[in-house]
């Protein structure tokens, strides 16, 4: 008796079909979700997105709404937090990759870096409030916010820069030291330039995190941006103020003005897309560069 299971005839596997269906369905779901979100945000947000909206401060007398103060606050946050976080983050990555020899210490540093990246922003907010605002007496200010953000983005910078440093071939190091370069000389003339794309990527990722941050900043740097920052640079960063994300929350949740919320969401979305594309572009260039060498 010849069984029907011949090799020319494919066995039917209903479970396989089901699995294929599930996988494609889930993938489609994710895809459709993102498309829906983007379209919905644009549809609701673009009508309110006028030039005046982007370039003025809110005016309670004429009842106009503008988000310029929060754009400026966001700019300060990016500037200060990147200024603080990049040197220490890159320095930390250099220590991990080039100096540290004690395996145990390396493990501890890696573990704490992982831990930092897993701590939710509201905890950073509470810590920032207790430490920067109260203990160091920096008050609820943009500076406190930037210092808190420095800790928040530190793991991103250490990890991304570390990966870039590890990708630098060892022969570069051997060659530099072989012709008599000291370690620091080798680092700042050979390693850092070779890892520069990784460092730039880490900065872009950090900017994304800074722009999106809200829970921590509400506690440490203020919940509204009604006025333009005043005074000289130091007075401005010692004042309180909301960033774009915090301002979105204030309009949409506290005041129920969803239209304004969506207009700010369009700005945030545009920033996200731009930063993502920038990372893609840099990595693409990196890829071609590698292929050439």
């Amino acid at each position: 008796m010849i069984k029907k299971t011949s090799i020319t005839e494919k066995r039917k596997r209903p479970l396989d079909k089901l699995a294929y269906f599930g996988i494609f369905l889930f993938a489609f779901l994710v895809f459709a979700m993102v498309v829906l979100f983007v379209v919905y945000i644009l549809y609701n947000g673009i009508p309110g997105l006028t030039w005046e909206f982007l370039t003025t401060a809110p005016n309670p007398i004429e009842q106009t709404i503008g988000i310029l103060p929060s754009i400026i606050n966001t700019g300060y946050m990016i500037l200060l937090a990147i200024l603080f976080a990049v040197p220490v983050g890159v320095g930390g990555a250099i220590y991990l990759c080039e100096y540290a020899k004690n395996k145990r210490l390396i493990r501890i540093i890696e573990f704490t870096t992982e831990t930092l990246s897993g701590i939710p922003s509201i905890i950073f907010g509470v810590f920032g409030y207790v430490f920067f605002c109260t203990l160091l007496n920096l008050k609820v200010s943009l500076l406190s916010g930037a210092l808190t953000l420095t800790i928040i983005v530190l793991p991103t910078i250490v990890r991304t820069t570390g990966e870039a440093l590890k990708a630098v071939p060892n022969s570069y190091r051997e060659a530099a030291q072989g012709i008599g370069a000291t370690k620091w000389y080798m680092i700042h003339t050979v390693l850092l330039p070779s890892a520069s794309r990784g460092i730039i990527t880490s900065i872009i990722l950090a900017i994304g995190r800074i722009v999106g941050e809200s829970a921590a900043l509400i506690l440490v740097s203020g919940g509204s941006a009604m006025y333009m920052p005043r005074g000289n640079f130091f007075e401005q960063i010692m004042g309180s103020g909301a960033t774009l994300s915090v301002e979105l929350y204030r309009y949409a949740y506290s005041r129920g003005e969803n239209g304004i919320g969506f207009s700010i969401a369009v700005v945030l979305l545009a920033i996200s897309v731009l930063l993502n594309l920038l990372v893609k572009l840099i990595n693409k260039k990196l890829g071609t560069q590698k292929a050439e060498s």
Binding site: R13, L15, D16, A19, Y20, G22, F24, F26, A27, L29, V30, F31, Y40, V90, G91, G92, I94, Y95, E98, Y99, I108, I109, F111, T112, T115, L116, G118, I119, P120, I122, I123, F124, V126, F127, V130, F131, I151, L154, P155, T182, K183, W184, G208, V211, G212, S214, A215, I218, L219, S245, L248, Y249, A252, N258, G261, A265, L269, S272, N276, K280
Partner: protein, 299 residues
Amino acid sequence: MKDHSILRSARTKSAVELVMHILFIVCGLLAVIAVLFISIYMIASGGPAIAKIGVFKFLFGQIWNPEAGQFGILPFILSSIVATALSILIAVPIGVGAAIFLTYMAGKKTGGIFLFIVELLASIPSVVYGLLGAMLVAPMIFKLQTMLSLPQSGSLLSATIVLVIMILPTIISVSASSLQAVPKTYNDASLALGSSKIQSIFKVLLPAAKSGIIAGIVLGVGRAIGETMAVMMVAGNAAMMPTLLGPVRLLTVGISLEWAYSSGLHREALYGIGLVLFVFIMIINIVLNIILKKGGKKA
């Protein structure tokens, strides 16, 4: 002549080297110092309130009423745990399915687009998710609540759906990268033995990538339990025991909601909630570390 001695230049050189070395050590230890400081200050600021209120009363008290001096956070703890568990339960199959699609079924071009979309999903700020949740998800739940003649409000279900969306990119990208790390020979071998593509994926490749996928899930748990803004915008935030269609207040929201107008013992109690949340997160981090270490050893 002395100025140009090589000995002297060697000395300044080695001084620079030493200074830079020390600077790098400080930078390297900054993460350690930060975690240490955060731990110390979370305990120092949250501990006293918990001691004053009483550990048991604080953790297992069912009523949160600051005006009456009642600070029981059991509803917050349970709400956080239920919302996290539910969102993980829904997000894992979707996320792993999408990761399988991304790794094994999407062509180069589709895969690229899909990856870009996942990355975009990961980079959208949480307030934007909160806004989307309040405008897209909550109204659907309102209809359900009306149908069941319940009062319309933010709910655990809305919060869960928003959390699912927010942890999906984490689970997808971590699962996909651990699937990509499985040697191609595994797949070839199982196909050569006559298994179908699906059998190969579910019986060989997924088990091989197990530790990475579990790490992704634990990361997702951490994200879900720590999410504040998006949840605050959809969960209704009443300090009640969790019910699927009723309003809930999660631990994170417990801190931020009343922060602005709290003072005295009330503010200290919020620090106490922070400490409880911090302990949760540290446990998750340690579990994650153990999983990653085990996975690393195997590989």
